[in-house]
Every structure is written in structure tokens, then in C-alpha cells.
């Protein structure tokens, strides 16, 4: 099966007090259509940097990233932005909705950033209904609970029917029940064919994924290396 997202020997080097260090150190990764990969790791292990590289928001120092068979290297900002908009559904960490737009407007926003055919508003309403928050369409983000808002952000990530959904700590700051609801929603999406790449701290949520990788000191390893070497 063709890889939706492929990272080939990717490195990202930074300077820390004039000493070079690798936030991402020779990482290779392939995510195929229908996959559900969880990446876990401690703070500072390089998870977010890897996610930013995978989402085309940060260019690697070396190595290459292919999204849907297209190499992201050397593309100008507008092309990369369009690719991000069309092919990646991104769920940032925290309550990352635009505070001045309603929930419906937040969900439809990626659809409006570039020209798309079809009924964006209708699709947004369907997504809100699907996530059980259609009654909050005209509310503002500050009026929603953490769980409701996170569901809205997932709906927003799906509005352009992306090739892959990338979520950064989607259950952070949520209570257990809300976290489970969110992960169940992701699992359901995956069962419908949506490809998922999640970064998480929450080891209890790993059971919802198909694969797990651990990030440690910039290296990516298959399996869960955080709980006594046991895979979930």
C-alpha cells in the first residue's frame, strides 16, 4: 500500500549554547493509508519537532518528507500552505480555536482559506452533528467545555477530507471521560478509513491506536518503550 506520509532519514539540528544537538535524529517513518500511529515520549524527546516536520510546518536539516507521494523539500510557502490545507487535517495542542469566530466558522475555516468546490458550510454542519455539538454551532470557543472544543477541532481537521489527520496531544487538559470520548472518536474515524498520526503523553489512550512508536532523545523506536519495555 502507498505511504500517505513518509519521513526518510530526517534530522533537525539546533544549537543550544553553541553546542549542536539533534531534536530529531535520523528518523525514518512510513504511515500508510488507514494507519493509526501513536507517538509517545517524554517532554523534550523531540515529538513536537517531529510532528511539525511531518506536517510541513518545519523543514528538516537533512532527510526528506513525502506527503502523498510528493516531496515537500524546496516547495515555496504558498505551495506548502496549500498542501497542508488540502492533505493534512491538523489538530494543534490545547484550545487552538480562533476566539473571534463561532464554532461553525472555526470548523469551516480551512475550507475557506483556499478555493474548494462544494458546500463547506453544509459539510461543517454535518461534522458538528456527527460529533454531537451541532447545537453549539453559533457559540464562541470560550463558551465551550474542553471536550466539546476538542471535538470541534477534530471536526475542523476533517473539513477538507485530508489524506492524514495529525493531532498533537489531543487529550491533554481533558478529564478521563472526555479523553476516552475523543479517542473513541478518533478510533471511529480510523475504522472509516481516516489515516491518523497522534502524539500523546497519555499511555492509557494507546489502546485506541494500531501502532505505537516511542521518541527518545530525538530517536524514534517502534513500540512502547516507556512502560517497562512492554508494548500495549
Amino acid at each position: 500500500m502507498a505511504a500517505v506520509l513518509k519521513l526518510n532519514d530526517v534530522c533537525r539540528e539546533y544549537q543550544r549554547g553553541n553546542v549542536p544537538f539533534f531534536a530529531v535524529n535520523h528518523v525514518s517513518l512510513s504511515i500508510e493509508a488507514g494507519d493509526f500511529l501513536n507517538i509517545i515520549g517524554r517532554s523534550g524527546s523531540g515529538k513536537s519537532t517531529l510532528l511539525n516536520i511531518a506536517a510541513g510546518m518545519l523543514s528538516p536539516t537533512s532527510g526528506s518528507v513525502e506527503l502523498d507521494g510528493e516531496n515537500l523539500a524546496g516547495k515555496d510557502d504558498a505551495t506548502l500552505s496549500r498542501l497542508r490545507n488540502d492533505k493534512i487535517g491538523f489538530v494543534p495542542q490545547g484550545a487552538s480555536a480562533l476566539p473571534n469566530l463561532t464554532i461553525l466558522e472555526n470548523v469551516v475555516l480551512p475550507f475557506c482559506l483556499w478555493p474548494h468546490g462544494g458546500d463547506g458550510e453544509g459539510a461543517a454542519r454535518l461534522l458538528l452533528e456527527r460529533f454531537g455539538i451541532s447545537h453549539l454551532a453559533d457559540s464562541y470557543p470560550s463558551e465551550l467545555s474542553g471536550g466539546e472544543l476538542r471535538r470541534a477541532l477534530i471536526a475542523r481537521a476533517l473539513i477538507n477530507r485530508p489524506r492524514i489527520v495529525i493531532a498533537d496531544e489531543p487529550t491533554s487538559d481533558l478529564d478521563v471521560e472526555s479523553s476516552i470520548n475523543i479517542m473513541e472518536a478518533f478510533a471511529k474515524l480510523n475504522s472509516e478509513g481516516v489515516t491518523l498520526l497522534l502524539v500523546s503523553h497519555d499511555l492509557d489512550m494507546l489502546k485506541f491506536g494500531k501502532r505505537v512508536c516511542t521518541m527518545s532523545d530525538g530517536h524514534l523506536m517502534d513500540g512502547n518503550h516507556l512502560t517497562d519495555g512492554q508494548n500495549p
Binding site: 511539525n52 510557502d77 504558498a78 500552505s81 491538523f90 494543534p92 495542542q93 473571534n100 475555516l109 480551512p110
Partner: protein, 403 residues
Amino acid sequence: MLGLSTFGIARRNLQRRPWRSFFLIMAILLFSFFLFAGSVLSLSLSRGAESTANRLGADIMLVPEGFDPHVDSILLSGKPSNFYLPANAMENVRNLEADIGIAQMSPQTFLATLSASCCSYPVQLVGLDYDTDFIVKPWMENTLGRRLLDGEIIVGYHVSGWPGETIKFFGKNLTVAGRLEQTGMGFDAMVFMNRATIAMLSREAERIMGRPLTNDGSLTSVIMLKLRPGYDSVAAAVELNRQLNSKGIYALFSKKFVNSIGASLTAVSWIIRGGLFLLWILAVLIVALIFALTMAERRGELGVLRALGASRGKLLRLCLTEAFLISGYGAVLGIMLGGASVMVGSPMIKDALRLPSLLPSFTGLSLLALGSAGAAVLTGVFAAAFSAVRASRVDVHEMMRGA
């Protein structure tokens, strides 16, 4: 559709941050208000001075000694005054005609009314000697197209009355033969007539008011002189003063009068320009500062937009559109407020500055309004541009740290 264009998002951002928008709009509003009102004031004064220079066709004015401030009042504001030269003033001046280089001389008579059917305020009546006048007559005949007859008047721009109507002065009905265009000077509040008509009114005035107009019965308030080419008006005025001061006659040279208006006008114009420049700096600083703070505060929000697929260009357009909208609102409100203030405050400012003033035409005002609005919008966009460009250049992952 929800209308989530760049314009739509920018508009929502402004609506949802009313206080921030209010302060930004106020900064631009103040700038556009003062730019428009200041430009109108400056141009009005300039036009007023030009008009004064054009209307004062005389090189020298002879007035009763001690009455020169009254002449200023009459010419600038039309404030009515009664004052008269000695009876033999014309003969005295005529004796010096050759020495001084006088080409033309014409007497004018001023008569102040306390009330009239036309106006709720006193009006200055001016009698012209039609045979010798070289100042107002060409201008009046241009308006009227014929000689002014006895019992007829021409009214200034601010005096009520239309051709064919009659106005009663000192119990006498006079027919309005024409109206003069606006001058921005005292002429606007004057009523012109020939010497025979004002002589008749003066007799009535004397009867009604119960006191003689002058001790010697003369009806000459000022004498306007035009010099032959090559004669210096300053030197002529000095010579006239030397010879006539003892006879109660004082010579004013018009250029000095116009020059003093010009000097005052230059000072006022520089004050207006300086104030506008300071205000421009202030507006740029306020808008730039508030925008910089806003961009820093909204770093995460802008990062989310980038993560969702907004390009740097789109982000820049969004920020500049917000600046454009704010500046547009501020500019339009400022111009409207400025227009209203100009209409209401112009006469007061004219009185306070004691300078002739002539409002620009409607087209001129419209062009000034458009120019002021454009300058205000450019100022707002320019002030916000630095923060907007900076915000759009930050890497997405850096921005996302603030989300």
C-alpha cells in the same frame, strides 16, 4: 455561505475586540479630523487672503486719523462703523495729485444700520462714487451688467434678499438689483449703493437717530487711491501722512494691510502644519504600538491559521485588511466630524483669528475630504505594516508555541 473571506475574518476580529478597535479607530479619527479640518481652515484663510488682495484694488486708503482699526474690522468682518473724513479731504488730496503720482481717486461712504428688514444684525451700507470708483464698480457691473440706479442696492453674499425684492433701511425701501458672490471678507455683510442713495439714507439716519452724522456734513468715509505706474505706495503713504495728518487724514497703504494678513496667515498655516505633523507621528505611534501588542498577543491564533493552511501572504493580507478597515472607519468618521466642525466652527475661527476666510467650493471640499481620508487610511496601514510583515515571517512552529 459564512463569508469567511480575508475581509470577513478581519471584520469579525474587529467586532469581537471592540475596545482595541475603538482606540485604533479613535487614533485615525483624530488624525483624519484634524487633517481635514486643518486643511480646510488653511485653504480658507489662503483663499480669503487671495480674495482680499484681489478686491483691494487700491494702493492707498485715506481714512480719518485714528480710525484705521475700524477699516480693518469693516474689510475683514463687515463690522459696521460710522466715521467720516473732513469735508475738504478730497480737495486736500487733489492738491497733492501730481506730487504723489495719483492716477485715480474715489470716495466711499460708510453708514451703519442698527437694524434692517433683511437682517437680524447690523449691516454696513457702502456708498460708491460711480463716476470715479475703480474698485467695486467693475466687480458690481460684472454681476449686474449695467449701472446701479438711484434707490437700487447690491447685497453681499450673507445679506438676505434676492433681485427684485425690497429691503427697508432707515424707513426707505430699496430694490435689490443683484447679489455678489462670496468673498470671505467684510464685503459679504455689506450693502452697496450709489452716492445719491446713501446721501438720502444718511439724511434719514440723521433724522431717525436724532444726531448729526458728522460735524461738517461730509459724506466721505474713505478715499481710495491708485498710483501711477512706477510710484511706490509706501513712499506715497509716508508723504501723504506728512502732509495730511495735521488735517485729520491718515494714509494706509494696502500692501501693508495685505502683507500683514499674509504674515498672520503664514504663521497660522505653519501652526496647522506643525500640529498635523505631530498628530501624524502620534497616530503612527499609537497604531503601530497597539498593532504590535495585538500581533504579539495573537501569535498563537496566527500560528493556528498558518497550521491550517494560510500562507504568509494570506496572513499579511489579513493583518493589513484589519488595519485598512480600522483606518477606513476612523477616516470616514473623522471626515464627517471634521466637515460638521468646519461648518459650525468656521465663522468662530474666522472671528477669533481676525483673518479673511473663504471656504473652498463643494468640489474643493470633496477633494480635500477624499485626500484626507486617503492619507488617514495610508497612515493606518503604514503604521500596522511593520507588525503585520513581522508576524507573517515568523515560522509556523514558532507561532504555534503561543497557541
